[in-house]
């Protein structure tokens, strides 16, 4: 038995500095241990909680690992067909312009099968928030190559590493949508360290606040891990992400208030 270091005397409401937001349900998430999806779900829920918009927000879940996202948010949600979330969000926002609408999508959903819906929702300047989880792999179907799989990266459908001559190049769709006049805020973040989690939360907050301005799409990419797909422990995966994903997908804002950020 481990030694007890509990300090029950300080467990009072005024001393509470962090607890799970009520905008998340009590359902245990189905994600693998250490998966960034859970962290991003929590940040979105915290932003909704802090903005006091739980009764005004409609979310759209994708197909992929986060297909069951609607089980975890205590908000009204719709489940889209693979890649179609931005089209659903367009339909919702056009009939409910006063509500807050967001999509939650992975790399296969957003950058492969849903490329057209993504590009055109961004180009039309739909007044929505798009949260894009990029872990460079198809997690749910068992670790196949994604549009964002790195060159040389092994997956179950590129078992000897992604050969770009044969399989094509990874798609930097975030850079692509930043070029479109319909996007207002485009940023790339990560959630594997406390400091990055705090920055990501600020970005998600801005992405939701922007809907009040009616200036176009706010697009937040989160470079995340897929421990199971990468066949690493969660702690190893964080190191791999820093050493391999981040050099190819550098973190930071690409477009703020409708203006490209100069590097």
């Amino acid at each position: 038995m481990e030694q007890n270091f509990d300090l029950p005397e300080i467990h009072t409401p005024e001393n509470l500095v962090y607890t799970k937001t009520k905008v998340l349900t009590d359902n245990v998430m189905h994600y693998c241990p250490g998966c960034g999806h859970g962290t991003v779900h929590r940040l979105i829920a915290e932003v909704i909680d802090e903005m006091g918009i739980q009764d005004q927000v409609i979310g759209v879940a994708p197909v992929g690992c986060s297909v069951l996202a609607y089980n975890y948010f205590d908000i009204d949600m719709q489940e889209a067909a693979h890649g179609r979330a931005p089209a659903l969000a367009t339909g919702i926002k056009r009939v409910f312009p006063e509500k807050f609408v967001f999509t939650y999508q992975g790399d296969g959903d957003l950058a492969a099968i849903g490329t057209a819906e993504t590009i055109h929702a961004c180009n039309r300047g739909e007044n929505i928030t798009i949260i894009f989880i990029n872990n460079g792999i198809y997690g749910m179907t068992g670790g196949q190559m994604a549009p964002t799989t790195l060159p040389g990266m092994p997956t179950s459908t590129s078992p000897y590493g992604r050969d770009v001559k044969m399989m094509g190049n990874p798609l930097k769709i975030t850079e692509l949508v930043a070029m479109l006049p319909g996007t207002y805020f485009v940023t790339r973040q990560a959630v594997h360290t406390p400091a990055l989690v705090r920055k990501t939360k600020k970005a998600i907050r801005m992405a939701f606040e922007n809907q009040k301005l009616n200036r176009g799409v706010s697009f937040v990419e989160i470079v995340s891990n897929c421990n199971s797909g990468w066949k690493l422990t969660p702690v190893q995966a964080i190191k791999w992400l820093e050493e391999n994903m981040l050099p190819f997908y550098p973190l930071g804002d690409l477009k703020v208030n409708g203006e490209m950020v100069s590097k």
Partner: protein, 360 residues
């Protein structure tokens, strides 16, 4: 004082949508139905009623925009023609699975593939047997006039919301393109957000404090629960078959020979019937208005009274299968069809009846 207008079928659909209090139209141009979105864009329905009209980047996006808006309890619709309807099938399956109400117009052209832009009825199977993947049905209405194009829009929305099920108007290039006199109905108001909250508690309008969240999905990983969902859908389709069958019976009382046709083919058959009657042949016409639910019962009854039936379709023989199922071998049923955009003439139809049924 009734308001009468000379309109194309496609224009009648568009005007009817505004008048029915539709909230949103999402579409993508394709011949022969592009007048629907053109008329809507010209009419500025956002000024007339607040209705949203948006040209999507594809048929796939358009049907999914319909999904999003329909899941909010709004009256949403799309329109297309055959190749575009094929693209929409994924979304239609999801909409049926998630039990969302909406209206889909198919102004059918000949196929398969890119086919022709000329009229056809070759999407009967696709419309009435589901169309996309999974066990589902649409309510399918087949207008035979521009007036019915107009009238069926409000009816479609009413049925769609009554059953929480997509409704398809299965038209064709003849009805979509031809101009006829239309009696324009009253302007129904769009529902307010408060009315939607009251009428449609399932709609995702933002979770109300103290109430459960609403989830619109067609996903159920537990096979037992998915089976329950399928059974619920089947019960709904059975109720439609009991309560929503619509048809028109012309000269069926004394008919010895029966023509069975829907949409523009029924118009041609009406003339063929007149030609035959002038020659002393006792011909009747049964025009299914709902293709699903199919008017099987009346056909079953007529099968004991007539000597033979001929289905006339602008396809290679699709509805004929449902007619044969309905009459259950009691009487001879043959099919006459033209396809690939060809339209049969009344004389041709009468000749087919005389050779295949009367003399056959």
């Amino acid at each position: 004082m009734k308001e009468l207008r000379l309109m194309k079928g496609n224009e009648a659909i568009a005007e009817a949508a505004i008048r029915a209090g539709a909230d949103a139209y999402f579409g993508y141009p394709i011949t022969p139905q592009s007048e629907v979105i053109e008329y809507l864009m010209a009419e500025k329905p956002h000024e007339r009623t607040g209705m949203v009209v948006l040209q999507a980047e594809s048929e796939v996006a358009a049907i999914n925009m319909v999904y999003g808006a329909a899941a909010c309890g709004k009256r949403a619709m799309t329109s297309s023609s055959s190749p575009g309807i094929s693209l929409k099938q994924e979304g239609i399956s999801y909409i049926a699975g998630a039990e969302l109400p909406c209206l889909i117009l198919n102004v059918v052209r000949g196929g398969p593939g890119l086919g022709t832009i000329q009229p056809s009825q070759s999407d009967y199977f696709q419309a009435t047997k589901g169309g996309g993947h999974g066990d589902y049905r649409l309510i399918v209405l087949a207008p035979a006039s521009v007036q019915e194009m107009y009238d069926f829009v409000k009816l479609s929305f009413d049925l769609a919301f009554k059953y929480r099920n997509p409704v398809m108007i299965l038209s064709d290039g003849v009805i979509g393109q031809m101009m006829e006199k239309v009696e324009i109905g009253e302007q129904y108001p769009r529902l307010t957000n408060e009315q939607i909250d009251e009428l449609y508690p399932w709609a995702t309008t933002g979770k109300k404090p103290g109430k459960d969240r609403r989830i619109i999905t067609s996903l159920e990983l537990d096979p037992g629960r998915q089976e329950q969902h399928n059974l619920k859908l089947q019960a709904k389709y059975k109720k439609m078959q009991e309560e929503e069958v619509r048809y028109e019976a012309l000269n069926c009382e004394d008919a010895e020979y029966l023509l069975v046709a829907f949409g523009s083919s029924a118009r041609i058959c009406q003339k063929a019937m007149d030609l035959g009657r002038a020659k002393g042949l006792k011909i009747g016409l049964l025009r299914p208005i709902t293709l699903f639910p199919f008017p099987s019962k009346i056909l079953h009854e007529l099968a004991t009274k007539v000597k033979g039936m001929l289905t006339v379709e602008m396809n290679a023989g699709q509805m004929v299968e449902d007619v044969r199922l309905a009459v259950c071998g009691k009487v001879k049923v043959e099919h006459y069809g033209r396809f690939g955009g060809m339209i049969p003439s009344p004389a041709e139809v009468l000749h087919a009846l005389e050779t295949k049924i009367i003399g056959g």
